[in-house]
């Protein structure tokens, strides 16, 4: 298999090329820009056939163009970051509501002010209720694999929902790493052309999309989306397993478990920071700590069942949130704690707010968190539920 040394953004662009995407509509925003620059370069060099790039004047228009393109049956892609994603918000509901399998890469970036271009998950997590599936990539390879799998999952007959692949600003987007890319023929076998649920170019049977839904009908369509999200869990596991069989990297778990078999303390989190956490787990294990890592790959649909299983055998879960819901707590912490409320397994859970706006989370930080968790478990009582870990006191 060919290997390339690429940035996270170029990995995404190559995946778009290899997935034989037909329409890309996007607006440049730091740190996403190099994704669409690379795609434009593919087109300029004649490396892709049948790919239309639609330059638009804002992210709201980008998503609107994607919705139109996807409704005609085309395989559609866009990419954005932070304020751009927020500007798309209205259209994100539209894409999911109309059941259009658009795939987007969101390069996680902190929301302003203060103006920031560094990593923070609050932008994508703010879109959790739009009906989009969300996949958090740990490294450049996962960005590439994620985009390819996203099209297959999104376009699955039981799903038909849009998918967001999330990567960290700069930590992944602009950092080069070896990415293993299968041959085009192998990808074509894995990802056949899209079979749309409906197509606006069906001139024999005209219909309207986004028609009025009175109180008599709206409710049922919401249920259909909820059901498709549940179905998506099965599809994600199937597609992840198939990807593993074909290309050697297995994505059948929605939560990737790392050394959790006999772990007392588990670090839970999403995205690139889990690479650091895994490194810290190895070091802590060599020092005698029984720790493990649980990387939540898919945040929507939320892997409830896998979390039940994990929680049964651990004493404490340290949830590392690179995001914050003001007035409440870290968003992953909030979700995970909520899932476990009605189960018998209720480990001690503590929320560490880390890395906001691109602040580094180092191996030593994770070690300090492990020590803190161990003390809490020994006492059997939380010191505090939410800790702003890096705060200058």
């Amino acid at each position: 298999m060919p290997k390339k040394v690429v940035s996270g953004n170029y990995a995404a662009a190559y995946a778009v090329k290899h997935a034989r995407v037909e329409v890309v509509a996007a607006y440049p925003i730091t740190p996403q820009t190099s994704i669409i620059e690379k795609i434009a370069e593919f087109i300029a060099n004649g490396e892709v056939e049948n790919l239309q790039y639609v330059p638009v004047e804002s992210e709201h228009s980008a998503m609107a163009a994607c919705i139109g393109a996807s409704a005609t049956g085309a395989r559609t892609f866009t990419a954005t970051s932070a304020q751009g994603l927020a500007l798309m918000h209205e259209m994100l509901h539209w894409a999911a509501g109309a059941r259009l399998p658009i795939v987007m890469v969101d390069v996680n970036r902190a929301m302003a002010p203060p103006w920031s271009v560094w990593d923070d998950q609050t932008d994508s997590l703010s879109q959790r209720d739009t009906g989009w599936l969300q996949f958090y990539a740990e490294n450049n390879q996962e960005v590439y694999d994620g985009v390819l799998m996203a099209f297959k999952i999104a376009e699955h007959e039981k799903v038909n929902l849009p998918v967001m692949i999330v990567e960290s600003a700069f930590i992944l987007s602009h950092t080069y790493d070896v990415v293993d890319m299968p041959e085009q023929e192998e990808i074509d076998e894995f990802l056949p052309p899209r079979k749309p649920l409906y197509t606006l170019t069906d001139f024999e049977n005209p219909f309207s999309v986004g028609a009025l839904g009175t109180p008599a009908d709206y409710y049922e369509f919401r249920y259909k989306i909820a059901k498709a999200m549940e179905e998506a869990k099965k599809v994600i596991k199937e597609v992840g397993k198939e990807y593993g069989e074909r290309f050697g990297r297995d994505y059948s778990q929605m939560i990737e478990l790392y050394r959790t078999d006999d772990a007392e303390i588990v670090f839970m989190g999403m995205g690139s920071l889990m690479g650091t956490v895994k490194e810290a787990v190895d070091i802590l294990r060599s020092e005698g700590y029984k720790v493990g890592a649980a990387k939540v790959r898919w945040f929507r649909p939320f892997p409830r069942e896998e979390l039940y299983e994990l929680a049964k055998n651990v004493e404490g879960i340290a949830v590392l949130d690179r995001n914050f819901s003001f007035g409440q707590e870290g968003i992953l912490f909030n979700e995970a704690k909520g899932v476990l409320y009605n189960t018998d397994a209720r480990p001690i859970m503590k929320n560490y707010i880390v890395g906001l706006g691109g602040r580094d989370l180092t191996v030593n930080d994770v070690k300090a968190i492990a020590k803190n968790m161990k003390e809490i478990i020994e006492k059997g009582k939380l010191d505090r539920e939410i800790e702003w870990y890096h705060l200058k006191r």
Binding site: A98, N160, F207, S208, A211, G213, E220, A228
Partner: protein, 105 residues
């Protein structure tokens, strides 16, 4: 077809879904404007007095829906399935042949 002198336009069957499984996967409809019977939004209904009507068809031109059609004899009639009761026809009628009447439901 809704031509100048013609029959009332073809009417679609209103789609009624009895269970969630009968709904289409995506919220798409065939011929939406025919299927949505917007007439039940109405509070005041237009009533045409044919003795005052001079067949100028200003009401027909101004109706935004269009819920007004022209009968074989040249008089206008209202399609109450789609008339929302906006009253533009009554306002524009030069001979006051159309009046808005509170509808008993």
């Amino acid at each position: 077809m809704n031509t100048l002198f013609g029959e009332k336009k073809a009417k679609a069957e209103k789609l009624v879904f009895k269970s969630v499984d009968e709904y289409p996967e995506a919220p798409i409809t065939l011929g939406t404007t025919l299927l949505n019977f917007t007439g039940d939004w109405r509070t005041f209904m237009p009533v045409v007095d044919e003795s005052k009507c001079i067949r100028c068809y200003i009401c027909w031109k101004f109706c935004p829906e269009p819920a007004i059609y022209i009968k074989e004899d040249g008089h206008v009639a209202i399609d109450y399935d789609y008339c929302k009761g906006c009253g533009i026809c009554a306002n524009e009628c030069p001979t006051k042949a159309i009046t808005m009447v509170r509808e008993e439901k």
